[in-house]
């Protein structure tokens, strides 16, 4: 049920538009099916599943808009849903930021966003993968807690102005925390894919187990400024947060780090080390994504930072028109260019430094400078003369990704993490402000 074919989906949407008496109407049909398994203390704790298709109808009269949803698709229900959207629209206030619906769009060809292997996942598959993970922990007398979540689905859109879109998508995410029984060591690994064929819980669990065993009896180092190697799982959140501030309106309104003294924004300015290049591309083979955004705008390869220079900001359609700037939607995931080195290579090239597996409870401290705080977690190690010497106690950091990406020493090969492609980063003068006893 959860995956309705393009022909069938567009037939439902055409029928919906036919029922509408509104000035403009847009209908979005989407569905997903999937499931999850959670474990803790080497036993399955909860499991669940979802199988759902749902229709959203937006009706507009002039600048008034209303939305209604339903999850059954017989004619009577569809008619009621459209009528409800129209009733809500009539009662709504006029939107001063009204934009007419988009007409027909040209989208990139769809690549491999949907994988049969992911759609074919069964409860047995989930139990087996998590079972394998638990077995590795149990053999090594460690305790694991893991979460496996997968889903496959589709999205179809159609509106009264001629826009038509359809795409299938699938995904799987897995994360595992492995701890020593005495609570003195902890390790973590995570991964996500569109195609479940690439996934193996055992490989990831071994990495987490090695980190757990290796992080026992950590030594305390003085907080201060250190050269750090941030593994991709540690770097991703800070980068993601920074890219979350690339909104043109916030910058133009003067309430973003991209706002300019005296007004305007900092597009075109070099704010980062010249090796920093970040772009998005829904056709990337490692990170296949939707080729259209929520409002129907095309998603295509877009440079956000090129050689350290801010190249583009995303915005709403309204703001793009008002500010006369390129009309670019916020993308799904980010791709940071990197080098060819592995984390191991980066460690080898480091005289003194700290390897960080993961950062945790990251919160914005000052939006003006994008200062963030948070802590290291699940495997923090001291590096000397190209080798890991010993585990160290976790640190709290206070650091801005802007400063961090100006203090770039080296980077490695990008890997997929949390729906982005991120290289391991070697950063000098990363600011740790206090120690934590947490393991």
């Amino acid at each position: 049920m959860a995956i309705i074919s393009q022909t069938e989906a567009q037939a439902i949407l055409t029928k919906v538009l036919g029922f509408s008496k509104a000035d403009e109407c847009e209908a979005t049909l989407s569905g997903q099916s999937g499931g999850n398994v959670r474990s803790a203390r080497n036993a399955i704790s909860t499991s669940g599943g979802i199988d759902n298709v749902s229709l959203a109808v937006e009706a507009r009269f002039g600048k008034r808009s209303g939305v209604a949803t339903c999850n059954q698709f017989d004619d009577a229900t569809l008619r009621t849903c459209v009528t409800r959207a129209e009733e809500i629209a009539r009662l709504a206030p006029e939107s001063p930021e009204y934009m007419p619906l988009l007409g027909a769009q040209k989208y990139l060809p769809i690549t491999n966003s949907f994988a049969k292997a992911t759609a074919a996942i069964t409860p047995d598959y989930r139990a087996e993968q998590v079972g394998n993970s638990m077995a590795i922990s149990a053999e090594r007398k460690l305790s694991s807690a893991a979460f496996l979540n997968d889903s496959s689905g589709f999205v179809a859109k159609r509106n009264s102005k001629g826009l038509e879109a359809y795409q299938q998508q699938s995904g799987l995410e897995f994360s595992v925390t492995v701890r020593t029984p005495d609570g003195t060591g902890s390790g973590y690994a995570m991964a996500d894919y569109n195609d479940a064929a690439k996934f193996d819980a055992k490989t990831l669990t071994r990495i987490a187990a090695d980190k757990a065993s290796g992080s026992r009896n950590a030594k305390a180092l003085e907080p201060g400024k250190y050269t750090v190697i941030l593994e991709p799982a540690a770097a991703v959140d800070l980068l993601n947060n920074m890219m979350g501030s690339f909104d043109a309106r916030n910058a133009d309104e003067g309430r973003s780090f991209l706002g300019k003294k005296g007004g305007g924004n900092r597009k075109g300015e070099k704010l980062f080390d010249e090796r920093v290049t970040i772009y998005s591309d829904p056709a990337n083979a490692e990170l296949p994504d939707l080729v259209f955004s929520g409002d129907g705008r095309p998603q295509q390869r877009t440079a956000w930072i090129e050689k350290g220079v801010v190249k583009n900001l995303y915005s709403s359609r309204y703001w793009a028109q008002k500010a006369s700037i390129p009309d670019i939607a916020r993308p799904g995931g980010w791709i940071m260019e990197g080098g060819t080195q592995s984390v191991q290579d980066l460690i080898k090239g480091t005289a003194k430094g700290i390897l960080v597996t993961r950062l945790w409870y990251i919160r914005a401290v000052d939006p003006q400078t994008l200062l963030y705080t948070g802590l290291t977690r699940d495997g923090t190690f001291y590096i000397e003369n190209g080798q890991i010497k010993f585990p160290v106690k976790n640190f709290r950091f206070n650091e801005s990704p802007i400063i961090m990406l100006n203090n770039l020493e080296a980077f490695g090969k990008p890997v997929r993490v949390g729906g982005n492609l991120v290289p391991p980063l070697k950063i000098r003068d990363f600011t740790f402000t206090s120690l934590s006893d947490a393991v």
């Binding site: 939305v67 807690a145 925390t177 979350g244 916030n250 309430r255 994008l370 948070g374 709290r396």
Partner: protein
């Protein structure tokens, strides 16, 4: 990565750094693109203001409906009882030794504005039933939105099937603390005005008036929002309970931004309101609910009603003042913390570490574990100074935790967590009580929807006020070098709840017993035990107020829960303060 809905409420909190206002307390999970449920609803709408954002904010899901629908009655209680009996009988026939069913209708409405315009008004309804069973000593759960005898029976059978399947890998059978059946009972949040009965226009007018008050007082931008929730929950179990509950919550909030274009500097000040277990009466200000802040600050604290216009006007003045306020000199200070700030510190450093499932490792892969293990408690070390008495409860009128019965049919109560500085107890539900040799549950089981399974969630966790008379001005008069902090700012704590860092909305220097002026760039970094052991004075009951959150996050897939934290203004000595200003 910020939770995805954090991003989608950018419309409310325009500056990226303020996202946490809505994502409050949710551990920073890495949410991937596999979460299509959120993605397709939220991402795939043409509305600039995002009328479909609702399903992406936890607890605000459901079908979008006409506001009038929120006042229509749900199923008759007799019908619910009949359906519940079908679920319980089906489960028992299929082999369950215990079963409970929750038939839930979850209603919500939110109104978003910025400056002089409405951004969005959305009303949502979600209706369905969840059946939880014990079979072969193992839990099974299934839910359905087909609330008919056939639909609910099918869910009950599926739950038993799942329990039996999971029992094959179960090592230890579930031990459920006994619970006497409650018979046929009901409970309702004692509200005065149902927020859904107030015309949407009145709510819009109030928010726009608050925005105008901010703009008139020098704000460059202002966003405001009103959230309203009504959970109509029917619970029945094979213990012989049939519990009908009608629960209401409300939360007005705003963020005011002042900008100095010449320097490019911007500062925000958020509302000093709190989410509450109240009706619309929370937005009808009463003089008796206003508590004056320290002399020299102009601040007002709010008990059971909030003066949105007055606070918005003050917020604009304070946001402007923040632009030129003195940057703090890092060092040790005595902190005087207002209840609207301290509630969050209590949540993070006492509420979470004393959740028994965290203590035992069930949340290791997400929210984390706890330093306050059973072994740690046995050592008898002080958690805090002798002044520190912290209670858990699900009873306080006006609190978010207040219900008659929890989501597994246990009557609610109050119990001690920290007694004169010593950790004495944890937060438990029926299948955890035996772990600490307790005969009954504490009654803090909760699910955020009919479609999600109930588990242990934080009750209200509150610091008891001081027993001797002490006002905030008297407290400040004894501080030589200190900082007064009101409101919640940035907050972060490690996964075992030792090391934390907290900011605030407004900061005032205290010099030789007097407020001497506003400060900026303040955050304190501390260790939970050092912090609570440095607790030196607590104002009396007349200063006691609650702070809360709608969005305490826990579990995978993550569920939210609403919780309040009461306290009076409290002094902590010699706390490490850092300066958060940076040059980029």
């Amino acid at each position: 990565m910020q939770p995805r809905y954090g991003f989608f409420v950018c419309g409310l909190q325009q500056t990226q750094g303020r996202l946490y206002l809505l994502a409050e307390f949710l551990p920073p999970l890495t949410q991937t693109r596999t979460d299509l449920k959120r993605r397709d609803f939220v991402g795939l709408t043409g509305l600039a203001a995002g009328a479909l954002w609702l399903p992406a904010v936890p607890g605000f899901g459901g079908s979008l409906v006409d506001p009038a629908r929120l006042l229509e009655p749900g199923l008759d209680v007799a019908v619910k009882k009949r359906l519940a009996d079908v679920a319980l009988n089906t489960a028992k026939s299929a082999g369950a030794t215990y079963a409970d069913v929750r038939i839930g209708r979850y209603l919500n409405q939110s109104v978003f504005t910025r400056e002089k315009q409405v951004q969005n008004i959305a009303s949502g309804e979600s209706f369905g039933a969840g059946v939880r069973v014990l079979a072969n000593g193992t839990w099974g759960f299934a839910a359905t939105n087909t609330v008919t005898e056939a639909g609910i029976a099918q869910a009950a059978k599926l739950a038993v099937q799942i329990a039996k399947a999971n029992s094959k890998v179960q090592k230890e059978p579930v031990q459920l603390a006994p619970q006497k059946g409650q018979g046929v009972v009901s409970w309702k949040t004692p509200i005065l005005v149902n927020a859904f009965e107030v015309p949407v226009k009145d709510k819009v007018d109030l928010l726009l008036a608050a925005n105008a008050a901010a703009l008139d007082n020098g704000a460059s931008f202002v966003n405001s929002v009103l959230f309203q929730v009504n959970e109509q929950k029917y619970f029945a179990s094979t213990d012989g309970s049939y519990i009908d509950q009608d629960i209401h919550r409300i939360w007005p909030n705003f963020s005011v931004t002042a900008i100095d274009r010449a320097s490019g500097k911007f500062r925000s000040r958020d509302a000093l309101s709190s989410p509450m277990g109240l009706g619309y009466e929370y937005l009808q200000p009463k003089a008796a609910d206003k508590v004056a802040g320290p002399a020299g600050t102009g601040l007002i604290g709010y008990r059971n009603s909030f003066d949105m216009l007055a606070d918005a006007a003050l917020a604009a003045k304070q946001a402007k003042e923040k632009l030129t306020a003195k940057s703090v000199t890092a060092g040790k200070y005595d902190l005087v913390l207002d209840p609207n700030h301290l509630g969050l510190t209590i949540h993070e450093s006492v509420g979470h570490p004393t959740e028994l499932d965290r203590v035992l490792g069930y949340e290791a892969n997400y929210a984390g574990t706890s330093f306050a293990t059973l072994e740690w408690r046995a050592k008898g070390q002080p958690y805090g100074s002798k002044l520190v008495n912290i209670v858990a409860d699900k009873l306080q009128p006006g609190s978010l935790g207040a219900v008659g019965y929890d989501d597994e049919g246990v009557p609610t109560k109050e119990w001690n967590i920290i007694d004169q500085g010593k950790l004495v107890d944890y937060q438990k539900i029926r299948d955890q009580a035996h772990i600490v040799n307790q005969k009954q549950s504490d009654g803090c089981c909760y699910a955020d929807s009919w479609s999600t399974v109930q588990f242990q969630r934080m009750p209200n966790i509150s610091l008891k006020p001081g027993t001797s008379k002490l006002s905030v001005d008297e407290m400040i008069s004894k501080v030589d070098k200190g900082i007064y902090i009101a409101g919640r700012g940035s907050f972060s704590i490690d996964q075992q709840r030792y090391n934390s860092q907290f900011g605030g909305q407004v900061f005032y220097a205290i010099d030789k017993g007097k407020i001497s002026g506003m400060l900026e760039d303040v955050a304190y970094q501390t260790n939970t035990l050092e912090f609570w052991n440095s607790c030196a004075a607590i104002c009396d009951e007349s200063d006691y107020r609650m702070f809360g959150s709608f969005f305490d996050g826990k579990g995978q897939p993550s569920q939210v829960s609403a919780v309040s934290h009461g306290s009076a203004t409290t002094r902590f000595n010699n706390v490490n303060v850092i300066n958060t200003a940076r040059k980029i």
